[in-house]
Symmetry: C2
Subunit: 291 residues, 2 copies
C-alpha cells in the first residue's frame, strides 16, 4: 500500500470540519489559527515504535498514548489543553495511517484539544509520532512549575506507580488533567511544585529537587503501588505512569473528586538530591535510551 | 557514542537561559509558558533524513531547513513567528545532537521564534526532525488563507522557482517572513490568498484554486526561474522553494523592500483547477512519497 501524503492530509482536513469556536482556522491551510488566552502553555513529545509502543498494539492505544503523553505535560503545570498538532513519520508499508490519525484526532477531542494541524511523512524505519499540545494555565493559580518546592513541604502523588510496567508498558495513558486543575483550585498558592511521572518516580522527583534547590526524601513504604508491582523499588524505577507528583504546604485532601487517591509519600528538606528509603533516587528512573 | 536523552535535554535548557520577555517559562519544565496575542497561528512540519536532507549535509543547513520549513508556513499566512518547539528522533550513533539542537535554537532565534521546548529520542532508522512554530497574524490584515482568491485577481510569486532543485535540494530555506508581512501592510484586504511553495508551484497554486473554488491560469513564460533551471516545466514541478504565491486585486509593487522581486505570473478566473501554459498544473508538483 502506497501512502500518498497529500491524500492523507486531505483526509485529516476532511475529518476536522466541526471545530470548537476557539479554532478559527483548522487543518488544511498553511497554519491553524486559534484564539487562546494570552498566556499559553506549550509542550511537545514523541512516541517511537519499538520504544514506547509496539506495532502489534491496537491503533487506538498507540494514538491515545501519543496524544496523552503530551497532554500529561499540560496537566503537570495545572493547565487545560486547548489544541493539538500531530505529525507522523510512518514506517513504509504501514497500512493504518487513516485509522491512526482518526484515533489521534478523537483522543485530542476527548481531552479538549482538537487536532488543528499535522503532517505525514513515510520513512524506512520505525514510526515516530510527535504531538504538540497548547494549553491554558489555571486561571487563578497560574502555571505550576517544578521549581517552587520549599523545605517544609510534603510530597504527594496521585494514583499509583508501576501501572505501565506491570502491563509490560501496553497501558493506556490517563493524563491527570482534572486532578491537576483540582489541586490548583483547592491548594492555590500552597501547591508549590508539580511534575508528571514519565521517567519514573525516582528520576522525576529528583527533577523537582534539582529545579527547586531542595532535597526530597521519599518514604518507600508510603509509595502507592499498582496491582502486580512487588515493591517500591521496582515501581519507583519504572516510567510511563503519568501520575502527578507534587509538593505542597498544609493540608491536602486524600482523594480527588475524580476518586483518584492522593497519597503523602515524603517531605521536602533543605539540601539537594532525592532519596527513597534513604537510597539515591535519581538513578532509579529510566532514561529512554537505556531501554 | 551513546546519546543520553536527559543530558541532551539539559543541554538544550542550559543553552536557553536568555529568552525574550514573552517567554515566561523556557525549556526545562514540563511545558513552556509564552505570552502570545490572543489569536495565534500554529503549524508543524517534519524534516526526514534521506528525503529532505542527507546526513552528509552541514549540520547548520539541516537545522536551518528543519526550522525554516515551518517558519515558511507562518510567512504564508502573513504572520510573524513567536516561538518554536523542536523534537528530534535521531538515528542511533548520530554524533552531532548537541550541535544540531544548538543550530536549531540559533535559527529559531534568527527568525524571532525562540526554541521554548523539545524532546529527543534515539531511533534505529532515519533521523526525523519535527518543528512546531507559533506565530502572530498580521495586526491589521489578519491571517491570509488559501481560500480567499476571487475571479479577476492576478497571481504573483516572490523570488524565483527551481532554486532547490537546481542545487539538488542542498539549498538553504529562506522563509519570506518580511515579504509576507510587507504584502499585508501594502495590499491589506486586496491580498486575497497566499501559500508557500513547498511542493512545487503547480501543485501549490492548485491548492489555492481548490480552496478558493476558482481556476488559476499561469503563463509559463512569466514564471521567474532560478539560475540553472532550463524552463518553467522543470521549475514548476520542483518543490522546496519556499517562495510565496499569492492572489491579489489591483496594483502590486514589483519588488519588496528586501529587494526580493514580485512577479505577476497569471490570473484567477471562474471555474476550477490550475493550468500552466494551458496544461494541468496539479500533477507537476511532487508528492513527498513519490521521491
Amino acid at each position: 500500500v502506497t501512502i500518498r501524503e497529500s491524500d492523507l492530509l486531505r483526509h485529516i482536513a476532511a475529518r476536522s470540519r466541526a471545530m470548537p469556536a476557539h479554532v478559527r482556522i483548522g487543518p488544511g491551510d498553511d497554519c491553524a489559527l486559534v484564539t487562546l488566552p494570552g498566556d499559553t502553555l506549550a509542550t511537545t513529545d514523541q512516541l517511537v515504535e519499538g520504544r514506547h509502543f509496539h506495532p502489534d498494539w491496537p491503533i487506538d492505544l498507540i494514538a491515545r498514548n501519543a496524544v496523552g503523553r503530551s497532554v500529561s505535560d499540560i496537566a503537570a503545570m495545572g493547565g487545560a489543553p486547548t489544541c493539538a498538532l500531530a505529525t507522523g513519520a510512518l514506517r513504509a508499508g504501514f497500512e493504518h495511517a487513516d485509522e491512526l490519525f482518526d484515533a489521534m484526532a478523537r483522543w485530542a477531542r476527548h481531552w479538549h484539544c482538537p487536532l488543528v494541524g499535522g503532517d505525514i511523512a513515510v520513512v524506512d524505519g520505525p514510526t515516530v509520532l510527535t504531538v504538540t499540545i497548547l494549553g491554558a494555565p489555571h486561571a487563578t493559580r497560574a502555571a505550576v512549575t517544578r521549581s517552587g518546592a520549599h523545605a517544609g513541604d510534603a510530597v504527594y502523588i496521585t494514583g499509583a506507580v508501576g501501572k505501565a510496567k506491570a502491563a509490560n508498558w501496553k497501558h493506556p495513558v490517563e493524563p491527570r488533567i482534572d486532578e491537576g486543575a483540582w489541586l490548583c483550585d483547592t491548594l492555590g498558592d500552597r501547591l508549590h511544585a508539580m511534575i508528571d511521572l514519565s521517567d519514573g518516580l525516582g528520576r522525576d522527583a529528583a527533577r523537582i529537587a534539582e529545579a527547586s534547590g531542595v532535597r526530597i526524601e521519599i518514604d518507600g513504604d508510603a509509595v502507592p503501588l499498582a496491582q502486580g508491582v512487588a515493591d517500591w523499588r521496582a515501581a519507583a524505577g519504572a516510567g510511563d505512569d503519568y501520575e502527578l507528583c507534587f509538593c505542597a504546604a498544609g493540608d491536602v485532601p486524600p482523594v480527588a473528586p475524580s476518586a483518584v487517591p492522593v497519597t503523602r509519600i515524603g517531605r521536602v528538606v533543605e539540601g539537594s538530591g532525592c532519596t527513597i528509603a534513604g537510597a539515591d533516587a535519581a538513578n532509579l528512573g529510566w532514561d529512554h535510551t537505556d531501554r
